[in-house]
Symmetry: C2
Subunit: 427 residues, 2 copies
């Protein structure tokens, strides 16, 4: 066993022990810990910002792009925001200890299905150091110990934040090791983390496809993830075209860098010219690049020629790409069946929408599209824990097991069956 | 790509396509298919029993043990029982299409959390061919396509059963490929099945630890399983000892070969002599081998010497062994804390029980033992889908994600969020 593997195993063992204490901590104590964690972050402001400065210096020397440097930066204002976010978690209801179902066996024994913490959660993420306090606070609220693995470029920042969080835990009488950060940048640490299913109940990778692939290939425990958000909007022949335009524009342009933004518009051929003439113009004026098939190009008419720098011919891969940018693939389809086939073949099971005035068509789309969230006459941008009223979001799942779609606090719990008898035996 | 891999991928592709049709099949059609499947099995009685005879001949030539041969055997009576079991699934409520939660966004958009099928389920099992029709019928009822992989010793039987089931599907107008059996014994088939997460949403291995280990190491999709049932009974110092004896005897002896039978009894030292003198005698008279620590041996007193052939000194491994036989590890503990530590270190998170008249002690045990099912004053033998009132059981999970404990039909579904709007966009 390598030193690194032994070190990660020891982290796991400590997390498991901490999780046993945490699972029985009352809500008041967990909330007190969250407030103390926030206070400790603010108290450690100087150290955290200094640690972040070391990360920034190294990142600049390594040629990190300006946008990435900005994501990495922690200033006083951002630190206070992070602390406030931790305090906000204290105000949320505790999802642990809910009676999910209760019934009696014919022999009189009582069955109680009770919500309980998962145990130990591993969270692997890239870049933004606010995820450290964010993820740690949601795991603590739900009674789970957490092992955090941030990006190497934010290692010093994350270590300083995690140390402050652990001090907050200890002040509230909870085990400091309920929040641990893997303190080395070595990439093999992820593989060792993924191997120890005796100590870790769930891994959530948050980042690029390469990271997620590594986790999926190595993990022995369950993984909840989403690879891509290739969200697709279908404009039906019976769509209200003004509504379709507003939704297409919102879903593409309001925040193109997020996973619930659309990447493809499918439009029924009967309304393609009318829709694209107007919506195409609005998108092009906003600077959106259109990747179009021949029929869409024809439907765009003179717009295509006039905006030649923004309009190009779509390759098959364009319909399977998460652009995360002001780029939109467009395709004309001849029927709802063709739209459904396209989504089944190219979508990522995240969020897809239909615009139509026909309820029968809409219900067919809602039933047949196999995605976490399906929309009728609304923007895909609503796939979000906050918009769902969850109060918090630990991630969005395109998996089908345990959690699908936006994940709030409840999704960080499992259940156990508690049976209370009076001597019952099985006959 | 090998021929075998291509063959398994093609199976997966067909299952995925079938699952899309199945997901929207109405309950009446699925129930009609189940009845037709049962009828086809009975109609194919001659072929199925002949195929089974070929399996039996080969198994005998390979020296399979008599008990295993009996498990493998299908006679007319057993076949009719299998068909009846399929018919019984038709009578169960359909868990698909339930509204799990419904609420409105402040902007008026409706959120509906709706239960839907998982998609495609892979089931890998050993030996008994009745699992073929059992698993297939539960998957069909829940709108899931299934890929079955049975034991090599029952391949001919399974092929004949699966063919009959597929004919039943087709007669009810459902895709025959919603039920497919891997038609080759090659062990690499399992690895290929575990690799195709684009077509298979869940793998459930049912069998020995070797099989489950292989699946866990290779699977890219979620796996639900239980390795062991090392169920532990703790007899507290405040236990009703007559109740403790009845429950220990039931949990060990009523059906020792199943996963919810106990493998270890922990007894508080204050009652060890009294409990073991009486319960020990009953167990020894029943022919149960006891693996005891020194304190238990002392508590057994003269019984230990008189039953020397049945009483031996426990090795540490005995407390971590699923005997599945009339063997019981026994240990004296000094406190509930010691019992909890023992369970955390040695148990398998399946089913554990405490016998005590003290409600505070009991509630502590129920809260702190991290197992799927925890019992107070009742036998662990109740961990079973039938005893839970689920009407059916596809397996028992000691995992924490998605399903924990006995799994019925609801556990073979997931959910999607259906959003119905009137043009809402995100601001």
């Amino acid at each position: 066993m390598s030193d690194l593997q032994a070190q990660i195993l020891e982290l796991g063992r400590r997390a498991r022990n901490a999780s046993r204490l945490l699972a029985r901590a009352p809500t008041t104590q967990k909330n007190a810990a969250l407030l103390a964690m926030a206070d400790e972050m603010v108290a450690a402001q100087t150290e955290i910002i200094a640690a972040n400065a070391r990360d920034l210096t190294l990142a600049q020397a390594n040629g990190l792009a300006t946008a990435m440097l900005d994501r990495l930066r922690i200033d006083e204002k951002r630190l206070h925001k992070m602390a406030d976010d931790v305090r906000a978690v204290a105000a949320l209801p505790d999802p642990v200890g809910r009676v999910l179902r209760e019934w009696s066996h014919p022999n009189g024994m009582r069955h109680t299905k009770l919500s309980v913490p998962l145990g130990v959660i591993g969270i692997i993420y890239e870049s933004r150091p606010n995820v450290t306090s964010d993820a740690a606070s949601l795991c603590l609220k739900t009674g789970n110990a957490v092992i955090l693995r941030g990006g190497s470029e934010s290692l010093q920042s994350n270590l300083a934040i995690a140390a402050a969080l652990s001090r907050g835990l200890a002040k509230a009488g909870l085990p400091a090791e309920a929040i641990q950060l893997i303190p080395v940048a070595d990439r093999d640490a992820v593989k060792h983390l993924c191997a120890m299913d005796q100590f870790v109940d769930l891994i959530m990778p948050r980042g690029g496809r390469g990271l997620i692939e590594t986790v999926v290939s190595h993990a022995r425990m369950p993984v909840i993830k989403h690879y891509d958000g290739i969200c697709i909007l279908y404009v039906d022949r019976e769509a209200d075209l003004a509504m379709a335009e507003a939704i297409a524009f919102n879903a593409k342009c309001q925040r193109p860098s997020v996973c619930n933004a659309i990447e493809t518009v499918l439009v029924h051929r009967d309304v393609a010219s009318q829709f694209l003439a107007k919506t195409g113009r609005a998108l092009l004026e906003r600077g959106v690049q259109l990747r179009v098939d021949d029929a869409s190009r024809a439907a765009l008419g003179s717009l295509a020629a006039r905006s030649a720098t923004l309009v190009s011919t779509a390759q098959p891969a364009d319909y399977r790409t998460e652009f995360l940018d002001l780029i939109l693939a467009v395709k004309v389809v001849g029927s709802i069946d063709e739209a459904l086939e396209h989504i089944a073949a190219n979508g990522s099971h995240h969020s897809d929408a239909i615009i139509t005035a026909n309820a029968v068509t809409a219900e067919r789309f809602l039933a047949e599209v196999d995605s976490a969230t399906v929309y009728w006459n609304a923007s895909t941008r609503f796939t979000d824990g906050g918009e769902f009223g969850f109060g918090a979001e630990i991630g969005i799942s395109t998996d089908k097991l345990h959690a699908r779609g936006p994940m709030g606090l409840e999704e960080l719990t499992t259940y156990k069956y508690v049976m209370r008898g009076t001597g019952q035996v099985r006959s």
